[in-house]
């Protein structure tokens, strides 16, 4: 490691430890590293990298998916999906847990925010499950882990961020499609885990719904489910770009929440716009600052050094994937998703490239790892939110959430070593470059 790299790494880590926001830490560390590199106009260069990092049309999909997620979360869409999921899986043993998981997956397919899933699906399902005799901690565990499937099932903002951080190596449509099968697999694995537990604890079976009722619920859920068709169908059919589809999603979810289901009042709209604006800014400042930092990384040839170091250890692709998975799992326990993707994509992508791992496949592995991180302490957004809703503590949940971690990790390893699971769908749809 030469001097500028040492400056970058040491200052960045120190700033993070002192709780300086990640975006500022990246910016300051980049300035210091550029100063250490000598004769660079560091201040202007960082400002320039930052602004050119965000003046990108494809990034507009982020504020729009955030906004449509907010409308979906406030708009009573979760309840319609729960009713619908109940028809499909409610009758089995531990039915409510299955309903919870399936709803999270469906919700993920229309909103793509894990916290929105925990609060709007969990906010309804957890109290209901508590009442029906399921353990509080079990209910929290199911919701927390199932909510993360929404980040793998498109649309998903973290995938847009990955597509950007990968520097155009993957298109947004391709990474969206790559997540479908792994996302469904995680959901299925969680269902298996919850069913096994439900059998052992003899949790109740749900209602069997009559046919007429089935149709009624299906029709009520159709408007919400239609959004999947509009967004994904629009992008895949080449009708919309991802950005245009996201804008249509805002309009559609707005109409659904405000006009059709009438669960969002007109006077709540400015607040939603503001919340969406601030959330967008948080992501965009991270993206902006990460552009400055990844410029330094590339200029100092850090990815090449890491590749060389890894190649010195092993030439085995499986072992390399294992090492990278362990690093990302560790990172995910401490760091939120967007900063983690922005920091580690430019470092690891060239590395995995030398080992013949496709950027799409790697993106899915990375996101799956970080999803597990959302459910683990010490920093786990979903974990804390879920514990709050279930009115229990992280310590109590830890014992019961272990089987669900196991399910997620098993699927992570299956997807790591079977690239076909991520690659097949984009390949069939002709989205590979």
């Amino acid at each position: 490691m030469n001097f500028p790299v040492q400056v970058l790494v040491v200052s960045f880590v120190l700033l993070l430890v002192f709780n300086v926001p990640v975006a500022f830490s990246m910016g300051i560390a980049s300035v210091l590293a550029m100063l250490a590199m000598g004769d660079l106009p560091a201040l202007v260069a960082v400002a320039h990298k930052m602004i050119t990092g965000i003046d990108e049309f494809s990034l507009l999909a982020i504020p729009f998916f955030i906004l449509s997620g907010l409308f979906m979360g406030h708009g009573g869409i979760a309840r319609r999906l729960i009713d619908f999921a109940n028809v499909l899986v409610g009758r089995f043993r531990g039915g409510l847990a299955l309903v919870n998981i399936l709803t999270c997956m469906l919700f993920g397919a229309i909103s793509g925010s894990a916290t929105a899933a925990v609060s709007s699906v969990g906010g309804f399902m957890i109290p209901l499950m508590n009442k029906r005799g399921y353990d509080r901690e079990f209910n929290a565990s199911v919701t927390i882990t199932a909510a993360t499937t929404g980040l793998l099932i498109p649309p998903s903002n973290v995938m847009i961020v990955y597509s950007l951080a990968a520097g155009g190596a993957v298109s947004i449509a391709a990474i969206f499609m790559a997540g479908v099968i792994p996302g469904i697999l995680v959901g299925l694995a969680l269902m298996v885990a919850s069913t096994l537990i439900s059998w052992r604890r003899n949790y109740g079976k749900g209602e069997t719904v009559r046919l007429s009722e089935t149709w009624k619920r299906f029709f009520k859920a159709i408007p919400a489910l239609l959004l999947i068709v509009i967004v994904m169908g629009g992008i895949l059919g080449g009708v919309f770009t991802a950005t245009e589809a996201s804008a249509v999603a805002v309009l559609y979810s707005f109409l659904l929440a405000v006009v059709f289901y009438k669960e969002v009042k007109w006077r709540e709209i400015p607040g939603i716009l503001l919340q969406g604006g601030v959330m967008t800014s948080v992501v965009f400042l991270l993206i902006a600052a990460s552009m400055a930092m990844s410029w330094v990384l590339a200029a100092e040839r850090i990815p090449q050094d890491i590749s060389a170091a890894l190649l010195g250890l092993t030439h085995n692709k499986i072992l390399v994937l294992l090492i990278i998975n362990l690093i990302l799992l560790a990172v995910g326990t401490f760091m939120d998703m967007t900063p983690a993707v922005l920091i580690f994509t430019p470092i690891f992508l060239p590395v995995v490239d030398t080992f013949g791992i496709h950027p799409l496949h790697f993106g899915i592995i990375m996101i799956m790892n970080l999803c597990i991180g959302l459910c683990t302490p010490p920093v786990g957004t979903c974990l804390f939110l879920g514990c709050g809703i279930a009115e229990t503590t992280v310590t109590k949940v830890m014992r019961q959430i272990l089987p669900f971690y196991a399910a997620m990790i098993i699927v992570l390893f299956i997807c790591s070593y079977m690239p076909v699971l991520s690659m097949w769908l984009p390949e069939q749809l002709g989205l590979l470059k």
Partner: protein, 184 residues
């Protein structure tokens, strides 16, 4: 006084963010409409959308600084006793203030000057790119104000040792242990 300035700032900037986000949605919807319904895609909507999102992102980033909404790793700092934690917060705010002054304001202003000098114009709207980039120093200015207010409050809290009952003061200004962040 500090609270008072913060309220005024919040009011203006938040209002602006709301309006611009709304305009942004309408702008891109208009683009979709012109392309698929009028079959005559508008040339300027895409450019306007980029300019708007750059401005909203940077102004919103200042608002987010005031709210402590920027993501950080609070794990280590939370383990510290109260006084040391406030000291760490003072350091974090100092970093934000310095970044705002040197990179966003000084670096940003120089960037604006250079871009205006090169007379770089956007292709469809013909706006000088320097004015688009003006968002950096302006956002830096508001970030500096929010950062300075945060710094002032923390220093006051640090100096008044007796205020033990005041409750935890984490950078997000939210009660300890409760998550206030979204999954970003």
């Amino acid at each position: 006084m500090a609270q008072w300035i913060k309220k005024i700032l919040d009011c203006c900037l938040e209002g602006l963010v709301m309006v611009v986000v709304g305009v942004l949605v309408i702008d891109v919807l208009w683009q979709v409409f012109t392309r698929y319904v009028l079959k005559n895609p508008s040339k300027w909507t895409e450019e306007l959308a980029i300019f708007l999102v750059v401005w909203v992102a940077l102004l919103g980033a200042a608002v987010a600084t005031g709210r402590g909404a920027h993501l950080g790793i609070d794990y280590f700092v939370q383990k510290l006793p109260r006084r040391e934690r406030i000291a760490a917060e003072i350091f974090a705010f100092l970093c934000i203030v310095l970044f705002a002054i040197f990179v966003m304001i000084a670096g940003g202003a120089e960037l604006v000057r250079m871009t205006l000098h090169l007379q770089q114009k956007s292709p469809a709207l013909g706006v000088a790119m320097g004015y688009v980039y003006l968002a950096v120093p302006i956002s830096g200015f508001f970030m500096l104000l929010y950062g300075a207010i945060g710094l002032y409050e923390r220093i006051r809290a640090f100096l008044s040792q007796s205020e033990a009952a005041e409750g935890p003061l984490d950078s997000a200004g939210r009660p300890e242990g409760l998550p206030g962040r979204e999954d970003l």
